[in-house]
Subunit: 419 residues, 4 copies
């Protein structure tokens, strides 16, 4: 890309600006105080998300590759580095909620400063740095989802139950009956090709061997989960992994996170406040342990991430124009996934696979190489993407991962069984 | 008091309004986000303080004694009850920092609603309820000090070290030399008389027997504390109580709270930001354990609360007009306390006395009876009052109390020795 | 004492041997494995007690004052120092239960080695060192009681409920009715005189001022405690100190330690195994928090340690011949204490007094000065002595102390009230 | 098997008795007190191991399948059930170290009682129950290894460093140079066949796809590990997984467990006491995190469990007569494993594989089905077997598993790399 191109003619600039604007739109309903809240050590304040994703560009692009760039504030990198040890000391993660300063307005000014420099610089950047920009935008998309899950976790702590957004009309009617769809068998190709953007953990593309199996045609629903509860699922230790039972008893877990009983009925707290449970919708806010126990109760199991990907690849939403989708949380096209429904954009689906490197995995070079590899222990893979995942961020090879007890993300499950 | 008196002619109304206005003035430098911060489970957000002290009036005066009073918001008592078990369930103390809502503006509106009802009601209240109002105002004064100590604790967590106020000019020159002032011996009267306001724990007034002793003419200074540090005070276990040594090693304590070393010099973080240590000023932000260890190092001991009160009573600042002083943090008159200096309004002085009931102690009736009595274990008495104590709140009989490891208050010490 | 005196003619040698033999007699029912158990970090294995009290003599008498004495094993002082920081590093207290070696037989050999050297040395020791010997013997008597309370705590962890001793015949009949006995008023002398042995914390003898009050004629009984339970005492938070309520709910406390319900009846586990509750006997194994809550429920309070001592002094069992009593746990003479019953040798009675230094307190010099002074925070005084206290160890000035949540000692209470 | 067969003619009886005798031989060097120690909640006392493995036979064979069998003691199953929820309540795992009673002699009597009944019963048991006996014997072999690792952990807590056994002569000379041995590629068969005994987690045998890779010809040595330490391996966070770094800093880990520095030299504590480090021997007592960090430092990785098994299967020691080997810890035949050395019986080798079910896994029916399946989360697979593994227990398909921070087992590593 020639450096004298008009920035607005560079598709990467446009992609950059679309992604960045979405972050700010997501924060728009929040006050400075809302955006300061950190509900637990694993979640971050909205302000911190907004600043951290700017710090990524400021550090790895502007500071390292743009001569004469001046840091917006030399004291801020200490605050907004997340976990890059290569970048030195940083503010303790569990104390991010103490940052009433900088203000939300100050952080928005930081964003404008970075955006202005980035828009000017992108057209002239060499290809390798443009790839860093793309990485940064995908990184920002991840934080867009976290911003939503984290503000939900924060508002859930407030007895006044504030709503982030207005409720959407609830779906009506029943979930379609669950069908078993035969999966692919034999050697399949798994992982992202070298074309286009993917995180390092999605590569290298490689072959794996699948055994006969079938996948459920849709996710487990709230209505089905209520049956599990009613059948004593949370009180039957033989349904649970040993760690899972310790977790469930330690937490006194008796329903998905954010569920509450109002006399005879179940309600849930969500971004739209307290609402009745919709029986036909996919269950969400469950831990891996709960997903695994449910599957055992149902006489089934969770799919491996490879079974899932092999089925999902034919319905990959990322085949479209990434730019158009960058900012949207559009509803899935009806019937997406053919006989398989709800593969993308409903809930993150827990799989039976631990998050481990693919054969031949090589982390990215330099500090950004800390991106995924160092988290490859103690976590399980989730596939698909949730209602809070930016649509342009969905793809069949995407490997999300969380610890098995985490459930503040929009996590659900799909059943599988041996064929 | 006749109910048709003009409210503004009732001194209690004036006292009420003066106290209430000070609380709001103290919060004026804070943003909504600042006022939401809870730095640790024992400190509370500024917003919470502002609301809680209004809840006290709303509950124990307006709800209970003013017909037709309507609660500002029926959901708020759950949020702003502190520890009155008699008032039912309440929001968990360590989660007060999750209350981005209500907003600071909302809480100020709550205050206006309560103030309007209180100003109208006070002149017509029976004497017993007027006493509750006075209790509530003294309660509010306590929270004024906590509001300051808690915002200091919150800002101390921010690497940007924001200042709440502008720095005052530092004192110059040396501290006066320490003199030993002989204390009163024999039977003395201790505790508040039945005239005027006092907390229940200050009564009944009773006789106690003092043995020969002397008190230091002034508090221990920062300069003296630096000598203690330099002499290895924090590393010499034989200077410490057993619990104190466990605390000091567990915390890796090596200086008062908020002190930091900047190369060769000590600095401290305070409401006025990071400032150099003033050697002649009283040391502050120390635990009882530190005070006790220092006294042992100095070949002295801490005074008992009775020795302290017997000496302080002749210089009691509360003999003046309480109303005039209600809102002021005026500098102490030069030479206050005669040969004894710095008895009131500099630092809370740790004493050698555990916080226990006086002979014949009777807690107040009803829920407000939970005020002090139930905290009479595991705490040590502090006397005097700090730079953050409203001047009208200082008196010789006042018994403040904190756990021996606490040091986020403006706590210091004065030496004593057997006579 | 001339150094050529026959050892057996020295009363201190005889006292020494009597005390030492009792320790071994107390350990006689225990196997090596029993004597290795440490049920919690605050209790110690029986073997450790037996060795530690020998280490005291070996270190402070033999090593320091007897030329040519050879340590039994140079590796053992590291194991059997308790908390004397002046004596250097030591084995971590919570890991004392890992010492299967040395064996119980090895430790008994250690005792014989020390005893032989001590018996030979005592007649020739200077007076100051003879006082150390006396201190060591009183120290050993304290550990005799701890040996019993700690093995009880250990056996209580075993579902097989092993008994240390055979049950004694239970008392019959009812407790005598509770009478209120007027206490002494005005200035009284408190503390041990300079005659005879006393721990440093019992001195100096000094005057204090008592206000009008009355003491219950006997301790609170098991039968009365069952009424407290039945009346919801453990579920009524307004009866409890704030710390006490946190303790009771955190522990789910609903009865004294070692009590268990067998269908409709209460039983208790004791040194004699599981036995029915004896209603007329003093309640024991209660925390300060429970004692305080009971007193509030009963409309009374706990006595101060000074009120207790002023009443007890006329019935002091230590006026007899200490030597005769050194080893005995003899029943109290009927009617001991006149109208006041059960003042000595039944249960340690919680008082309302924090464990703090007396006016003019001076710790002993040297490492043994760590004996009491450094524990003077966070603990409450208990008076009287229990069924597990060697009879020669009882005296009116004795100040026992434990943290307010401790209840593995034989702790009970006597009521008091303002007169 | 006809029920009138002479027991001694039944090979299963012989196998039973050989295994059982070895357990007792392993306990022979221990005193009752030694055998009572529980050094941490995850290790168990030797007495408990000896009793628990007898409880397994008493419960699942004698009680369930042998008419007229009488329990040795009806109170003991509560004590010696490990984790079988289907068998009801049980003694809390972290309190196993409180069982001074039953005595070691009592437990040996329990073993004789069970053995007598088992030897009489085995010949007449139906095939399915004979399989349970075989499972029980393999279970006992697992506990034989744990008995050794747990007594090592217990003795390591004792400052006297007692030795369980006499030291063996140390090896001399250098380790052979590390060679890279090409592994099998393509589809391979993994897992135990249906012939012979295997744990449920080793089945079903199934195909998997291996990518080109090479395995190190031998394990990483102590000498190599010392280089890793010297190169700052424990201080270089970029070598570590994120969880691993948190573990290493939290534990202040700076060497394998049981290593200690004696001035300039490394020593280790082992069953034979404190000994110098042998540079040519395989490193052991390392966590998965350490193994993973070492591999990264060495520019390599850990093998997957499938790569390991595909290479090991040609050298499987279980092809011999299981009976001969049941009790022996015989040295490995020289050159076992061909070019690959130290595949069996040196150290458990951490693999890169999470412990997850094989395709088509079905847990065993009934309570014994809790055997492995419920532990399939949060653990990593180890392969090979250690010096403490009974030789007859070694086989290529064996899947051991521990949490990634565990290192009290004899755990080491072998490097692998992509081919």
């Amino acid at each position: 890309m020639a450096s004298n191109a008009r920035p607005e003619a560079d598709p990467l600039v446009i992609f950059y600006l679309v992604v960045r604007r979405l972050s700010e739109a997501l924060a728009a309903p929040l006050s400075d105080a809302d955006a300061t809240l950190q509900p637990n050590p694993e979640a971050s304040p909205a302000k911190w998300h907004l600043a951290h994703i700017s710090w990524f560009f400021e550090t790895f692009v502007l500071r390292d590759h743009v001569p004469d760039y001046r840091l917006f504030d030399a004291a801020w990198p200490f605050l907004f580095n997340s976990y890059y040890d290569g970048e030195g000391e940083r503010h303790a993660r569990p104390r991010r909620g103490m940052l009433s300063r900088p203000t939300l307005d100050g952080i928005l000014a930081y964003r404008r400063h970075v955006d202005s420099a980035m828009a000017a610089a992108i057209p002239g950047l060499p290809a390798a740095v443009r790839e860093l920009v793309t990485l940064g935008l995908n990184h920002e998309q991840q934080h867009q989802e976290l911003l939503l899950t984290d503000i939900l976790a924060a508002f859930a702590e407030n007895p006044l139950a504030p709503a982030y957004s207005t409720p959407k009309p609830q779906g009506r009617g029943d979930a379609p009956p669950l069908e078993w769809i035969e999966g692919r068998t034999g050697i399949v190709e798994i992982g992202a090709s070298n074309e286009g953007f993917a995180f390092d953990a999605e590569r290298p593309r490689h072959r794996t061997l699948l055994h006969p199996h079938a996948l459920a045609s849709r996710c487990v629903t709230n209505g089905e989960w209520i049956e599990f509860i009613a059948d004593g699922g949370y009180r039957t230790c033989t349904l649970w992994l040993s760690d899972g039972w310790a977790w469930a008893t330690g937490e006194a877990a008796s329903a998905p996170l954010y569920w509450r009983r109002n006399e005879a009925n179940w309600q849930r707290f969500g971004l739209d406040g307290v609402q009745p449970i919709e029986p036909a919708a996919p269950v969400t806010h469950i831990s891996y342990y709960e997903a695994d126990a449910y599957a055992r109760w149902a006489g089934a199991r969770l799919p491996t991430e490879f079974e899932w990907e092999a089925a999902a690849v034919h319905h990959d939403p990322s085949s479209g124009n990434q730019l158009d989708d960058a900012g949207a949380f559009a509803p899935r096209p009806a019937g997406a996934g053919g006989a398989l429904r709800q593969m993308f954009g409903d809930v993150w689906e827990w799989t039976a696979s631990a998050f481990l490197p693919y054969p031949g995995f090589v982390p990215a070079e330099g500090t950004v190489g800390e991106y995924n590899g160092k988290f490859m222990s103690g976590q399980m893979v989730l596939r698909g993407g949730s209602c809070a995942t930016p649509r342009g961020h969905l793809r069949a090879s995407y490997r999300n991962f969380f610890a098995p007890h985490h459930r503040w993300q929009f996590t659900g499950l799909r059943l599988a069984r041996d064929g």
